[in-house]
């Protein structure tokens, strides 16, 4: 089917006058598409809108969640720059699922008017799940907001609106459009000295047909992109007024505390709630298939009453499973199974027989919890055949669909009310539905809003975890220290294809994945598979460097001769960190690099061993090539954030399974990097001009290996199992931290 481009940029007059632009975006499926703005042949769908009011205010409707990554600001910057809008007059609104699809009629109206091909119509009416699967429509994740929605959507919408406004002004003045210029939300005709504001032109512009392929700016023409503008969400975050899902409150609201089956996948057998029901404020005790909940007029009352509830859950085959059992099962699977192909090149098996030395190593990481600061929660209000939902989510549209299906409602009868997220990191993505499902089922028994809150203990024990994983390496070196073969067997599943691949020039590779399924539920966790795979591969390559007798920086540089961007980030990081300089006694620099989510990030950690035998990370130098940068300050903040998130995991992160359930309860036994343990972080942004890469995740993967590679230099101990808190190191007395 031939698809006309113009059909995907849609405009309309809005109530009260003004222009609204709906824009099209391409399904994210790789760098090539990201480069190929509005290329032919890919499915496209409506995502969001740009609105211009008669008073010259511009509203950018952002279809991504703000969870601290700054993408509301950066996305609006991209639209506003292409529009040549005055930044001070730009407002940002979260595009709620309802405005686009239920109340929206706007979207459907556009479709009818401009003839969206029939195969796209289902996308507009279809279930949220289907849309999320097809097009990542409102999902915030994969470090994708800026590089896909921003690049393919926001910029195109801004540029299209600008051309329509110019066309209108030109007609009104009777001058050629190419004599008109734009700046700060005005169209000018310099020769005649005439000017009109966007607001004055918007109503007429909305009657024009959008341009087929609006021209995007060259980087040298940017006025807003590239500037370290302040984030729009920050003022509300310093005075307590920022609204998170957990903050929704009404007078008649009820609160639910819940106890879920401690062993994943088991069911509730019986409940004795006699005492709980007598407690003050308790309205009801609700038995669900896998859980029991107490509903009261205050969350604390519900939680206290829940302590009085005795509940019995069914026995299961998993009741005796421990982390050690899971590790043993992984080992057995890795021995028993050839697994399935991840990547193969040359003949790794044959090449190993040519090697003068074979090096083998086995690496292991535990399950990890997301632990966002805002505990998981969801308020649902069901009345008169419709539902209102307040929950901090990385996908409002999918939440809407999920609540509808659980409550047996039409999606159009469900409204999700947007909020900021108190952290996400993957926990608030679709498929991690336990909070949403339980909150909906509980609320179905009331006609007032019911807020279901997971305590921190629930959050820790009922997460969908970063998988535990084991990776067994075998490499062959020749007598000159060259890598002849790279052999890796690891436990899956693969959530992020390519994460276990190496950029290094090794002709013979065999990378295969074996089954790593257990009864523990898993999900995406900031940087997904890169979080464990980078620890594995960047540690093992470091082992090979030392065995070859070459310094780890030089070793990598030589093997990256076909990857100049990798070489550049390593070079920049090494220079900034003073790699090779004389370090203070007892300190060492460890290095690691990884490409993920379209960006390449190198990190160098300066480490010593403290008087308690634990590692101290003094400084992390990070260099990242994300193509180019929309907002340098939010970009740096994301690198700092990614480093600390990964460092917390490397130092302390461990979810242990005992008797089939999670042992950890709360922050005291799932420790975090805090002020005292947070290193200085020096960030270098490299603008290579390549396609836009992500920033939310790529700084997390390299840090663990950077730290353990430094520890090896300091102590001779090769850390092959995280977290570091399990290990003790020989203290060098000259090193104690001041």
């Amino acid at each position: 089917m031939k698809i006309s481009r113009r059909r995907f940029i849609l405009s309309s007059a809005v109530v009260g006058g003004g222009l609204a632009i709906g824009y099209a975006a391409t399904r994210p499926s790789g760098h090539r598409i990201a480069n190929d703005t509005l290329g032919e042949g890919s499915a496209r769908y409506l995502t969001s809108f740009l609105k211009i009011d008669p008073d010259n205010r511009v509203t950018v409707y952002v279809n991504h969640s703000e969870m601290g990554q700054g993408s509301h600001t950066a996305l609006a910057m991209m639209a506003a720059d292409e529009l040549d809008a005055a930044w001070e007059q730009v407002r940002i609104e979260q595009a709620p699922a309802t405005d686009l699809y239920a109340a929206g009629d706007m979207a459907i109206g556009f479709a009818g008017e401009f003839g969206v091909p029939s195969f796209l119509m289902p996308l507009i009416e279809a279930s949220a799940m289907k849309i999320a699967q097809i097009g990542n429509l409102q999902t915030t994740g994969g470090s994708a907001s800026i590089r896909f929605t921003g690049q393919l959507g926001m910029r195109v919408a801004g540029a299209a609106a600008r051309e329509m406004l110019i066309q209108c002004a030109a007609v009104r003045w009777g001058v050629p459009a190419d004599e008109c210029t734009t700046a700060l939300s005005y169209v000018h005709h310099n020769a005649s000295g005439q000017s009109l504001s966007y607001g004055e032109l918007a109503d007429a512009a909305a009657r024009l047909e959008p341009p087929e392929a609006p021209t995007l700016k060259e980087r040298k023409q940017f006025n807003i992109m590239g500037k370290a503008l302040s984030r729009v969400d920050i003022p509300a975050k310093v005075n307590g007024s920022a609204f998170y899902g957990l903050d929704y409150k009404t007078e008649d609201m009820l609160f639910a505390a819940i106890r879920l089956a401690p062993v994943f996948g088991t069911k509730l057998v019986s409940v004795d709630a006699t005492e709980a029901l007598e407690r003050r404020g308790v309205k009801k005790v609700i038995e669900l298939e896998d859980s029991v909940a107490v509903v009261a007029d205050n969350y604390w009352r519900a939680k206290e009453a829940l302590k009085e509830v005795s509940a019995e859950f069914e026995r299961s085959d998993n009741d005796s499973v421990s982390s050690a059992d899971i590790a043993a099962r992984f080992d057995e699977e890795l021995t028993r199974s050839e697994g399935s192909k991840d990547f193969e090149a040359g003949d790794a098996e044959a090449s190993l027989t040519q090697a003068s030395e074979i090096i083998e190593a086995s690496y292991r990481v535990p399950y990890l919890a997301h632990a966002p600061m805002e505990p998981m929660n969801c308020t649902v209000h069901i009345q008169n055949g419709r539902a209102d939902v307040w929950t901090s989510t990385q996908d409002p549209l999918a939440v809407r669909g999920r609540v509808a299906s659980v409550a047996g409602l039409n999606e159009r009868a469900v409204t999700h009310h947007p909020s900021y997220l108190g952290g996400g990191f993957g926990r608030r993505l679709p498929f991690n539905w336990n909070v949403i499902d339980h909150a909906t089922k509980i609320a179905m028994q009331f006609s007032v809003p019911v807020k279901t809150v997971f305590s921190r203990e629930d959050d820790m024990q009922q997460d969908y975890y970063r998988p535990a994983a084991t990776s067994n390496f075998k490499a062959g070196l020749d007598s000159n220290g060259n890598i002849l073969a790279w052999h890796n067997r690891y436990t899956g599943p693969i959530q992020t294809p390519g994460a276990a691949h190496i950029p290094y020039a090794v002709d013979h590779q065999s990378i295969r994945v074996v089954d790593g399924d257990t009864h523990v539920p898993i999900a995406a966790w900031r940087s997904v598979d890169h979080s464990q795979q980078t620890f594995f591969t960047e540690s093992f390559i470091d082992e090979l460097a030392h065995r070859a007798g070459t310094n780890p920086f030089q070793f990598r540089m030589e093997l990256l001769n076909k990857h100049p961007r990798h070489q550049q980030v390593l070079q920049v990081a090494a220079e900034a960190a003073g790699y090779g300089r004389n370090l203070p006694e007892g300190r060492a620099l460890g290095i690691a690099v990884q490409e993920s989510f379209g960006s390449i990030c190198a990190e160098i950690a300066e480490v010593s061993i403290g008087s308690d035998g634990k590692p101290v990370v003094h400084k992390v130098t990070a260099a990242i090539d994300c193509g180019w940068v929309v907002n340098p300050d939010t970009a740096k903040a994301q690198i700092e954030s990614g480093v600390i998130f990964g460092l917390t995991a490397a130092m302390y992160g461990e979810i242990t399974i005992k008797e089939g359930r999670v042992s950890q309860n709360n922050f005291p036994d799932y420790e975090m990097v805090r002020m005292a343990t947070s290193p200085e972080i020096d960030v270098h942004l490299i603008e290579s001009g390549a396609s836009l890469g992500g920033l939310g995740e790529p700084a997390t993967p390299p840090i663990a290996a950077a730290v353990t590679n430094a520890i090896y230099i300091l102590t001779g101990q090769r850390i092959r199992e995280l977290p570091l808190s399990k290990h003790s190191f020989r203290h060098n007395s000259t090193l104690a931290k001041a």
């Binding site: 984030r231 310093v238 998170y244 205050n298 600061m373 917390t648 709360n666 922050f667």
Partner: protein
């Protein structure tokens, strides 16, 4: 019944004496700027000030703070500024904007309350003093900016 003086206003609440202040603030009074993070005084998201001192409200029974001066993030600027106009920010809140400290922002009410207390007691803390008194958890890792912002206030 508990009588609480919060941000200069007295409230009489019909709550159990052992109810933690956090839940009285959030669920009874609707003062949702104070956040629930862990419930066990570990993360500091619920930090308020009682007579100017940082207190983790998730484990502080209302009976223990009756008659005391309780300040939450909503009342912080008014409690610290000599001449307060609605919308004004105190020095810490301003520095938080200048240094673009918050990311998700959820921990920042508690962080700002703790830092404001620290700087009132010790206007120029050393790094070790900052580390010892600010042990709030920020999952987004705003720590380097928290330190930078504190330094900027101390040097102002």
């Amino acid at each position: 019944m508990a009588t609480l003086k919060i941000n200069g206003t007295e409230y009489t609440l019909d709550v159990e004496p052992e109810m933690p202040l956090l839940w009285a603030l959030r669920d009874e009074l609707g003062l949702t700027g104070t956040k629930f993070g862990c419930g066990v005084a570990s993360c500091g998201a619920c930090t308020v000030q009682v007579n100017g001192n940082p207190v983790r409200s998730c484990v502080m029974p209302v009976s223990a703070v009756q008659g005391q001066e309780i300040t939450t993030i909503e009342g912080l600027a008014e409690s610290t500024l000599a001449h307060y106009e609605p919308g004004d920010l105190n020095a810490v809140q301003k520095a938080w904007i200048d240094h673009q400290v918050p990311q998700c922002g959820y921990c920042q009410s508690g962080m700002i309350m703790a830092v404001s207390s620290l700087l009132t007691a010790n206007p120029n803390p050393s790094d070790a003093e900052i580390d010892a008194s600010i042990n709030n958890v920020c999952r987004c890792g705003s720590y380097p900016r928290v330190r930078k912002a504190i330094r900027a206030i101390a040097n102002a």
